[in-house]
């Protein structure tokens, strides 16, 4: 099954109007033509009768005197009457006293045959005795002229109809198609360019205005959903890159940041440092005071770390009780060592827990310097890890 190509509203309205007007014009035109032909036919018959009676009065003495010259003279004024094809004067024996035919040809013999099939006869009497017959043939001159005029007028009406239809359709296009186009253009704009702030202006036609307001309401809802979705997406993105407990970056964020910083440092020939931080005895805190206490310690460590770090440094919780810090570009080894000292001073301050308990976080920090300790992420991570364990062992040997 094939579907017809869609039509424009303008075209549809034009065809519709043209059809209706054509029908009306044709109907009224035919009615007028029919009425006109009927009336004219009546007039033509009256005309023939009138000519016949007029002629019979003038012809009466000519027939009495049997005078063809007088008969022809009596016919003379009747020859000027339009719609007469032939005039014949017959005496009482049926012989023609006078006979005149219009020299011009009948414009349309078919109409003549249809409307004037037989001549009109009038008997001429004198003192009660019939002395002859006057015979009048009609022709189609007047009717043909009327029909011709009717046809021309009909065609003119059709032309006016066409012009009028185009004008009306234009008017309709202005009134109807334009508001629809306005709605369509807003919908298109919204879909194409995501311009959710576009709205349909108030329209002059009630139904279309309602449609426009519904579209506006839909756009309002869409706009709301869109905003909601954007914030949810943002939230999800944040969740994907951050650690839920401490609010620092997570492992993925750490890896991404490291790759990015490595690339930048390689390009610029710059240096930076990587720190690994691991809580000592964290398992014991958990065991003694519960996981809530452990979590509190982790949160506290994170907050303290953040307070020590400079703008451009990046801290992340890599999992469990491990943290990683990427120090900003340009960080030299001495800077890194200074920061490690500051971190140790800050983080290892006591954490109050409950009414009387005091928790003492202990951390080990490993450091890897780019590019001296490694040029790839894996090398740097391994170096930092090794450094951290060295630090842990050293402190263990020192402290206990």
């Amino acid at each position: 099954m094939t579907r017809a190509a869609p039509r424009s509203l303008h075209g549809l309205l034009t065809r519709f109007h043209f059809g209706i007007t054509l029908f009306a014009v044709a109907l009224s035109g035919l009615t007028i033509l029919f009425a006109g032909v009927t009336a004219l036919r009546g007039y033509a018959d009256r005309n023939l009768e009138l000519v016949a009676h007029l002629g019979s009065y003038a012809l009466e003495p000519a027939l009495v005197f049997n005078d063809p010259v007088a008969a022809n003279a009596a016919l003379e004024p009747l020859r000027q009457v339009p719609g007469i094809a032939r005039l014949t004067v017959l005496d009482d024996r049926g012989r023609a006293l006078a006979d005149w035919k219009r020299p011009q040809d009948d414009p349309s013999p078919a109409i003549t045959r249809l409307f004037f099939p037989a001549p009109y006869d009038v008997a001429i009497q004198r003192n009660g005795s019939t002395i002859g017959t006057f015979r009048v043939w009609g022709d189609s001159t007047a009717l043909a002229a009327y029909l011709k005029l009717g046809l021309v007028a009909g065609l003119a009406c059709l032309a006016i109809t066409a012009i009028g239809t185009i004008a009306i359709a234009r008017r309709f296009e202005y009134e109807l198609v334009k508001p629809l186009g306005e709605i369509a253009s807003v919908a298109h704009e919204v879909r194409r360019n995501r311009k959710l702030d576009r709205r349909v202006q108030p329209l002059a036609i009630v139904e279309l205005d309602r449609l426009g307001r519904d579209v506006n309401a839909l756009l309002d809802e869409l706009d709301g959903w869109h905003g909601q979705m954007a914030s949810e997406k943002e939230q999800l993105a944040h969740q994907a890159m951050h650690d839920g407990l401490t609010g620092l970056g997570n492992r993925e964020a750490f890896d991404a940041r490291l790759d990015q910083q490595l690339a930048t440092a390689r390009r610029a020939g710059d240096s930076f440092a990587l720190l690994f931080i691991d809580c000592d005895h964290f398992k014991q805190v958990n065991d003694r005071h519960g996981h809530v206490a452990g979590d509190a310690v982790l949160v506290q460590i994170a907050a303290r770390l953040r307070s020590v770090l400079r703008d451009g440094d990046f801290a992340a919780r890599l999992g469990g009780d491990e943290f990683g810090v990427i120090l900003s570009l340009g960080t030299q080894p001495e800077h890194g060592l200074a920061i490690i000292t500051r971190i140790l001073n800050k983080v290892e301050a006591p954490v109050e827990w409950g009414e009387d308990a005091v928790l003492q976080p202990r951390i080990s920090i490993g450091r890897a310097q780019f590019p001296t300790d490694g040029r790839s992420a894996a090398d740097l991570l391994a170096a930092a890890d090794a450094s951290m364990y060295a630090h842990k062992s050293a402190r263990r040997a020192q402290g206990e």
Binding site: Y57, F65, G128
Partner: protein, 174 residues
């Protein structure tokens, strides 16, 4: 209600006349008889005469052949003229006078006497139609024509149908 009654009354009057007129024309009614009959037919007498009751007098010999027997439409028989001497003719005995070949002086006297009386005067010996007769027949017996003397018609008390006057040959025409 009225129409059939009128038809009934008129019908029997029309039929025989029509038949006779046709038969007369078919017969040897001469062209001159038709002209004279036509003129009589289109003349109205103040006395109420007309048709079959018209008394036609003849004086002198007709130039156009035999004794005129005018055929009047609607009258069954042709009118039969009565021969009279011109001195005997007046409106008491004649309604129409056919003046044949008489002396010009006699003719002038007769016409002068009949002037102002309801008598139709016709002659066939006055081609210029200036003798004072109302109608003058000219031409020959086979194709006669007639002239009218409008002055004489105007002076008479008769009324002639204008169509007959118009059909007449003009006096100044040949």
């Amino acid at each position: 209600m009225l129409a059939p009654l009128i038809l009934f009354v008129i019908q029997p009057q029309v039929d025989p006349a029509q038949l006779h007129y046709a038969s007369m024309v078919a017969g040897d009614a001469g062209p001159a008889d038709r002209i004279v009959g036509g003129i009589i037919s289109y003349t109205r007498w103040p006395t109420g005469r007309g048709g079959a009751s018209v008394r036609l007098c003849l004086t002198g010999n007709p130039r156009l052949g035999s004794v005129p027997q005018p055929v009047v439409p609607g009258v069954a028989q042709p009118l039969q003229p009565v021969m009279r001497r011109s001195s005997d003719i007046d409106s008491s005995v004649c309604d129409a006078v056919y003046i044949g070949n008489v002396q010009p002086g006699e003719r002038a006297a007769l016409i002068a006497r009949l002037r102002g009386t309801p008598v139709l005067t016709l002659t066939d010996i006055d081609p210029l139609c200036n003798s004072g007769a109302m109608f003058c027949l000219t031409g020959n017996a086979a194709s006669p024509r007639y002239h009218v003397n409008l002055d004489a018609v105007a002076r008479s008390t008769l009324r002639i149908d204008a169509r007959v006057l118009r059909m007449a040959q003009r006096s100044d025409a040949p």
